[in-house]
Symmetry: C2
Amino acid sequence: MATLLERFLRRFIQHGDLEIETGSGQTFRIGDRTGAPAGVRFADARSEWRLLRDPEFALGELYMEGRLTLTRGDIYDLLAIGVRNIEAPNSRWVAALQRTRTALRRWRRNDLVRAGRNVSHHYDIDARLYAMFLDGDLQYSCAYFEHADDSLDQAQLAKKRHIAAKLLVDPGHKVLDIGCGWGGLALYLADPCEASVLGVTLSTEQLSLAQSRAEERGLASKVRFRLQDYRQITERFDRIVSVGMFEHVGLADYDVFFQTAARALKPDGVMLLHTIGNTGVPAPTNPWVEKYIFPGGYVPSMSEIMPAIERAGLKATDVEILRIHYAKTLREWRDRFMAHRAQAAALYDERFCRMWEFYLALAETVFRAGLNVVFQIQLAKDVEAVPLTRDYIFERERQLRARESAERPAHDLSSAGTPWR
Amino acid sequence: MATLLERFLRRFIQHGDLEIETGSGQTFRIGDRTGAPAGVRFADARSEWRLLRDPEFALGELYMEGRLTLTRGDIYDLLAIGVRNIEAPNSRWVAALQRTRTALRRWRRNDLVRAGRNVSHHYDIDARLYAMFLDGDLQYSCAYFEHADDSLDQAQLAKKRHIAAKLLVDPGHKVLDIGCGWGGLALYLADPCEASVLGVTLSTEQLSLAQSRAEERGLASKVRFRLQDYRQITERFDRIVSVGMFEHVGLADYDVFFQTAARALKPDGVMLLHTIGNTGVPAPTNPWVEKYIFPGGYVPSMSEIMPAIERAGLKATDVEILRIHYAKTLREWRDRFMAHRAQAAALYDERFCRMWEFYLALAETVFRAGLNVVFQIQLAKDVEAVPLTRDYIFERERQLRARESAERPAHDLSSAGTPWR
């Protein structure tokens, strides 16, 4: 048994420093002994078989179940070794599994029922859990680190400011926020940007917290939130923003997404899409992530997004590619999560904690390696809706920064409901 | 006869104000009478037939031959009306012609022989012609207007500076310029950027002028020029830049282009591709442009470029979409060309002048409407080869601006060989 496992792992892991202990107590060391070392122990032979049969899926499950434990380094170190070797010659059966998954994914549509269920799976998790690891404003997407030593709260504020600047939001604008989360960006667009905002979400947990935050901040007249699928939007808007929601749309619905946006956007409107992107050729979602974290989720390559934009008659007017920012964000999230691990275990259980840790660590390695990035795609119908040079972004950020500090402390996070901090 | 022409034109031209005089002297007026009016006269019935049979192709030819003349407004006004109506329901035969052209284009490769011939067609035209309408540095690509009232020379200098800043060129860097034209950008990368530059072109006219300019500027040791196809490059470079050349590569060779670039780029290298782009769904080259101006040329949609980038293992790290800048550039070019029309006619003939005027006016209308833009795609292998936020671009531009003015007058154009100005 160990021989097959060892052969498989030696083939897949060419770089890095990894020590393996099998269920029967044999040990071997693989890789070129470079980088941070990691060591793992399999609980039993059955766990080794499970990894061999479907490594991409089983690794996460074995870790969750405690059947694969770390004897050296942590789960991040282990996954970082995996990512370093991702371009190694895959075993044929891994490649075949990937092809099958890709084929299946293309045909699965996230209809209204499935979309709602998918969102509930992840976002109706107790808000107390999110408050444990997110910033005070509950921004559950890539932060924007203007300076290397910015705190997470500063970088999340900078992200909202950066998006507002690119959206060219002016007082009185009608703005649609598709996938509004716990409402942080919508509130920012209302104050300090002074827009009139509609945020839609499919998560009842998010809706209720977003609404109460708007009331607490005295912004309920400027920001409305609705439990609604984006496909059911019928109004028209000056600005549309969607942050970290497109990952849930699914390939089969990209045309619907952009056609809905094009219908909802006024002729001189501006839209900003902020989504995780794959820098490589299209690839299926990791099956473990698909099952445990984001059912229905998909990370698109640019080559998959652009055709739908072109068909919808929208014009890309700027594409920023945020690199490393999400790796930094995820590291912050994981550090915070680990600091609150005991509370998380009390709320759920150890298995949940290991699942969450695995998810945050896996995502970080993928962004750190540049396999995933964030695409910020600015869109318009009229190419003159956006200034000709990008300096307006910096100028608007400067203005917003001044308004933020004039009106209230930049980090007034008291309404975010974070009893632990 | 006039009835069929009228029916066709009424169907195609819904917006604008256009007066038609047929070869037999009948007149009619079409459109909704909005915008700048234009009027045309057909020389004879045969010209009307030619337009009906293949309007996209025949319009330019009839204008060149003097068989279609303007009775009101100029050629720009006429073409602007055409572009305004581009989304009108095309006649079925126009759509069928377009489909055939698209299908043919996909299979035509620009092999080494054809690529050389295509380039000669356009760029071995007497350099005196280009000097008549380009800026003093002979920049034959979209300028970058930092301010609305910048002169063409200022905007072309700003373009070179903007590209150098995004390339993160440092002194001593080895830079490859694919499609170097008359050498202006390569010279800028050598001075003030202090890089060591190789520029390749397929035009003997461009090569010889570029070489003599390098010698005149005392930069021959820092800038080499070669008559070479990009596919024959074997060296490796810190930086690669290609400005206004990708339009000649042709769809069938995008993989070859990016794979060649990936091979020639060092692991921590940065590349900048500056190319005209189509904001809509993929569309064939206008057949008149294909025949008379850019044989083998193609304006790609983003959805056609990105798959090849992903397959080559390059990662897009920034995509700027320059809108309107090329319309402004083309207007400047056409104004200059018209001011030197008599000299151009002496060098060639009236037919050539009408051809050139048609080309510049057509291109301007297409950019003005936002159907075409310029994509500036920054590429890297390692996502950390480029800083995390875009402010380095502005900072480097500031530094370069200071070096330009310290070393020599910013517009020292004496070596460009422009005897007429």
